[in-house]
């Protein structure tokens, strides 16, 4: 019933001599490794802070990602700027490595007037067009056929771009997973699916989500390759993704990558995980914290000193705190924003309703 420790081959951080392997095509440079580390750490800090803000009533809701930073950051780092990502609510690390600004993330959590979503969506339902980070909807897996459609359009236009589509273990049971994977296989769409298998779909352990021994083997039902990697090993995730992305870019079709990882926190701020899983399981996975693993690797390889590490953390905390402070000043969205963007232009019924509502609004401001 518990998410077992991964039995996978491609472990990078646990083997010595990463430096030597660096000549490998596309392997990250020293600066890039530090950048990856920074973003993972920032993701963690953002996550912790957001959970706290929710508890303090400063934001209404949040979906934490602590524990999954390696799967998120390592995979998305394999992309080019002009590639696309289709994230889930949990993919803060993807947003950050793609270059989302902290302020836009915070503004969204607050649903204020700076929120690119105009305060219309629940927190953690991001979407940032400027970084090709698609808009999240709550219904699980509903983004997957859409992601395949974008990939098909890239192929239609003869571009060499790639889509990275994220989903959880629970998502594999949905009809949209099936449609998306099948269309991807049939049309050889340039897409890579990143399955963040964090062991749980709210209270359902993955072993009861499906009778399939692994999730990656589901890909064979669609005629393409599925691979399983240690999702807490950021470089293993990066390598597997880079390989799959290259393959997709060459026109050789989709890949599924199952990242074995763990959700260390609650499903969301509405969830109490002690109702359904053991402390021991969580503790076991805490000992495999992906950030700790990467940090000790970097230190062992003399890529990161203790001072540098503290400096980075301090910088990031300041950045984060100032983003929050600034966004907390922003007012809520203008009330008329309720009526915008339903259509490209306003039909009579919405205009009429807005006119009627104005009076109500002005009384209640």
């Amino acid at each position: 019933m518990s998410q077992s420790r991964p039995q996978v081959k491609d472990k990078v951080l646990q083997v010595a001599g990463f430096q030597k392997e660096r000549e490998m095509k596309g392997e990250p440079s020293k600066e890039e490794l530090i950048h990856i580390y920074r973003v993972m750490l920032l993701t963690r800090l953002f996550d912790t802070k957001s959970l706290n803000m929710q508890r303090q009533g400063r934001i209404g809701f949040y979906v934490p990602c602590t524990g999954q930073e390696a799967s998120q950051v390592g995979s998305a780092f394999a992309l080019r700027r002009d590639d696309w990502t289709f994230p889930t609510y949990r993919d803060v690390g993807v947003a950050l490595i793609r270059g989302a600004s902290l302020r836009s993330l915070v503004a969204h959590l607050m649903g204020n007037s700076n929120d690119p979503m105009k305060g219309r969506q629940m927190p953690s339902h991001w979407g940032f067009r400027t970084i090709n980070f698609a808009s999240v909807a709550s219904p699980i897996a509903s983004h997957l056929p859409v992601a395949v459609g974008v990939a098909m359009a890239m192929k239609f236009k003869n571009e060499d771009k790639v889509v990275l589509a994220y989903h959880g273990d629970g998502a594999t049971s949905s009809g949209d997973f099936h449609s998306a994977y099948n269309f991807a296989g049939v049309y050889k769409a340039p897409i890579v699916f990143i399955c963040e298998n964090n062991g749980w779909a709210i209270s359902l352990p993955v072993q009861r989500q499906t009778a399939s021994p692994t999730l990656s083997q589901k890909a064979t039902a669609y005629g393409f390759e599925g691979v399983r990697v240690d999702g807490n090993d950021v470089l293993a995730v990066y390598r597997a993704t880079a390989k799959a992305v290259d393959k997709a870019r060459r026109g050789e079709g989709p890949t599924m990558i199952e990242c074995l990882t763990y959700r260390l926190g609650p499903h969301s701020t509405s969830d109490d995980p002690t109702r359904y899983r053991s402390r021991e399981e969580v503790e076991e996975w805490k000992r495999r914290d992906c950030i700790e693993i990467f940090r000790s690797f970097l230190k062992k390889e003399a890529l990161l000193s203790d001072e540098e590490d503290s400096r980075i953390r301090k910088e990031l905390e300041e950045e984060l705190n100032s983003a929050i402070a600034e966004e907390e000043q922003a007012p809520r969205p203008a009330i008329e924003s309720i009526f915008e963007d339903v259509y490209s232009s306003e039909p009579w019924n919405i205009r009429e309703q807005f006119e009627e509502a104005k009076e109500d609004f002005s009384k209640r401001m």
């Binding site: 219309r120 629940m122 949905s174 339903v342 209640r364």
Partner: protein, 324 residues
Amino acid sequence: MPTINLVQAVNQALREEMRRDERIVILGEDVGKDGGVFRATEGLYEEFGENRVIDTPLSESGIIGTAIGMAIYGLNPVPEIQFLDFIYPAFDQIVTNLAKLRYRSGGQYSCHLVVRAPYGGGIKGGHYHSQSSEAYFCHTAGLKVVIPATPYDTKGLLLSSIRDKDPVIFLEPKKIYRSVKEEVPEGEFTVPIGKAKLAREGSDVSIIAYGAMLHVALEAAETARKNGVDVEVLDLRTLIPLDIDAVLATVKKTGRVIIVHEAPKTGGFGAEIAALISEKAIEYLKGPIIRVAGYDTPFPYTLEEFYMPSVPRIMKAIDKLMQY
């Protein structure tokens, strides 16, 4: 008599009826060990075991589809959809199988079951945790649609629904899951499907409402009283089959009608009520039929309290009708 809230009423009805009827099976996402994300099924897994309280994979078409099969085979399933907003992957199962099986098989097969789902706004859930899509089901012949507004009715109507012979879509107003409390008897009692309740008598204006909006309507009625307007409030409780007699009675009594629902106005169930009144009682009307409803937009997040029907919006409608 103990005072309980609405979600406790759901839980009590399920627990008591599961003790009486061994054919009842609950299935859904997180309904077992977790007790449901709103705790509606809390403790049932412990009492009845994993064969009767089934945690399912993440597939609404699987939940409803297998529940239909169980019903055909003589079980009495009460599937839960975690939020009504997530019912659409099961929409084909509902429209194609659940609603039509009896008819299409010439009465050879039937599939009575109760789909429970929390619905509506008021919990800061944004587009996908706030929808009120009852109108889709009301337009689907073969389904009954029940929406309680109080703990007592919740328990009584849920028991009636579980004992009914037809498929029932049972929608629970999650905004008031915990905030509305009242005394509810333990043990068996039912509230009949298809009967509205006169929640407040009045002679000047009729407000027709259901679910969480009942309480907004009652508050508006109370406010209006202070302005000297005597408002009657009808709580529909069942949308399909509608209690047409109760609707027409209040319309004929006051001649002024306001319909309140959270769902977007265009094509909402309020349209059907207005259409029936304009077909069957137009000669009694002293003014237009006014719908106070959600706006024709997706459900917003930050500004949800401006989106949902409110006392001031209803007051405006009352004023308009009284001055017409």
